[in-house]
Symmetry: C2
Subunit: 287 residues, 2 copies
């Protein structure tokens, strides 16, 4: 297995950054892995768990890395890159693991111009948990990894990043960064927003009837709202950064819920059954 | 283990009726189990799987049962009971496994008046699959079982039904039938409707952008929409029978989604984070 990198520095050692480090080790990455986190405890945990070889709250630790991987919430990318700039050595590639691409990829390219090539990436994997201590073995094996090259993308850097994710067991898919944001507004950002909203609604309904409804839920509800335990800062940033696409997806979803609402209100039994049947069929086709 | 019944007849041998039969056998129920289904294949499968001892498409097979368990979609209860009436022998108890209680319990009591005591029941368990061949071992172990007595309920019949569900490993909870419908409109019926609606929305968005978005989903989406594969007829009936409570829950949910929508639209970062944090906290408290 060809890794192409000697030292990888991860910025933001949370669940995704930590899982990335852990799986590099498990797949036999033979170079050094370092990490930067604003929280010294995250670095300590990463060292204790032996998923990183060195770490710091200071950006200077990135100076020998030939690959820098940004794994912070997307809202702080600009700040992160500005702090990194003095420590990026010649030949280093910068990539990321964020859930929003589009304008962010072009912003990163612009901030890094003349210093390092940037390759936007997004692993379609994760859990509702947070922190390096919840890092998951084989999280990326069999999962999709979206890479979002632009006309400015350095071809060699792109191939090296793609190869690294193939080594981690991912199915690498190239996608336009703006198209990426339209797609994931629908299949990922919308479901998260809906999950948070349904928990809010059930909290309100609990207050109205004076009964803690959460204690009367079954397994269906628990699976359905599991993603409402995801990190609030990460998701706040995603919603803000991808707001135009997300707002469009929310509008479409509201039309769908209002369609069902009307069918129930008007007791249109046959149409309601057809609506459910069509959705069941669509969902059942998902691999 | 005291079972109190010699012959149990299940009406509707689907996933829930079939799992009920299977788990009676597994827990050592020593009487006879029969089943009625409009679909002769369901009876054949039940016999092949040895979860029932006898079965028929004819209601006359219920004539020796001392417990009749209705496990059909709630929309056909009246028809089922009318067909059963000639075959209900003296001393027989009738119960059900439906997701809507309220007026349905009183309707069943009225239809059975002078023939048999009725005890409304609802196991808080299930899967998105259908059919007796998907019956699940230990489906009810550790799950809640809601029993909904009314002032008319026969106390001995109630105790016998409660005891049977305790034998199956369930935590039996008594609840007013109308209150039951308010509770489950929120924690079960609303999430199902939302899951069907989000699949509908993503289908529409797929058509708009000309890309099959369902093929780009991750594990979070799959868990989130698993319940959209539930049986359309069962859920159509639940939505129609519990429509007033469900419509109220949908209205509250729409307010919650519109709250998030506004926060995103107006880029209210702090408030959006707080909204997500509060939901995360509430959801994390669920056992």
């Amino acid at each position: 297995m060809e890794w192409n990198f000697k030292e990888i520095c991860i910025i933001g050692l949370g669940l995704i950054g930590g899982s990335f480090a852990l799986n590099l080790k498990l797949k036999g990455f033979n170079g050094k892995i370092t990490a930067i986190d604003i929280n010294p405890e995250a670095i300590e945990k990463g060292l204790d768990l032996e998923v990183i070889d060195d770490g710091s709250i200071k950006h200077s630790i990135a100076e020998n890395a030939d690959l820098i991987v940004i794994a912070t919430p997307v809202g702080v990318y600009e700040e992160v890159i500005r702090q990194l700039l003095p420590f990026i050595s010649s030949g280093t590639i910068v990539t990321d693991l964020g859930s929003v691409k589009g304008h962010i990829v072009f912003k990163c390219e612009s901030l890094l111009k003349g210093k390092a090539p940037f390759v936007g990436g997004h692993p379609i994997a994760g859990t509702e948990k947070s922190g390096v201590d919840n890092a998951v073995e084989n999280l990326f094996s069999g999962a999709k990894f979206i890479v979002t090259p632009t006309p400015n993308t350095d071809k060699t850097a792109l191939e090296k990043v793609k190869n690294l994710w193939k080594n981690l067991g991912s199915e690498v898919i190239e996608m336009d960064p703006f198209f990426h944001d339209i797609v994931f507004a629908s299949v990922s950002h919308l479901p998260h927003v809906v999950a948070y909203a349904i928990v809010d609604a059930i909290d309100k309904l609990s207050n109205e009837i004076g009964e803690d409804l959460f204690q009367l839920t079954g397994g269906g509800f628990r699976d359905f709202t599991r993603i409402a335990m995801s990190d609030p800062i990460m998701w706040r940033d995603i919603c803000i950064e991808n707001r135009d696409n997300l707002l469009k997806a929310i509008k479409t979803f509201k039309k769908s819920i209002e369609k069902v609402e009307t069918l129930i209100e008007q007791v249109k039994s046959e149409e309601l059954k057809d609506f459910f049947e069509k959705a069941k069929k669509k969902r059942s086709e998902v691999r």
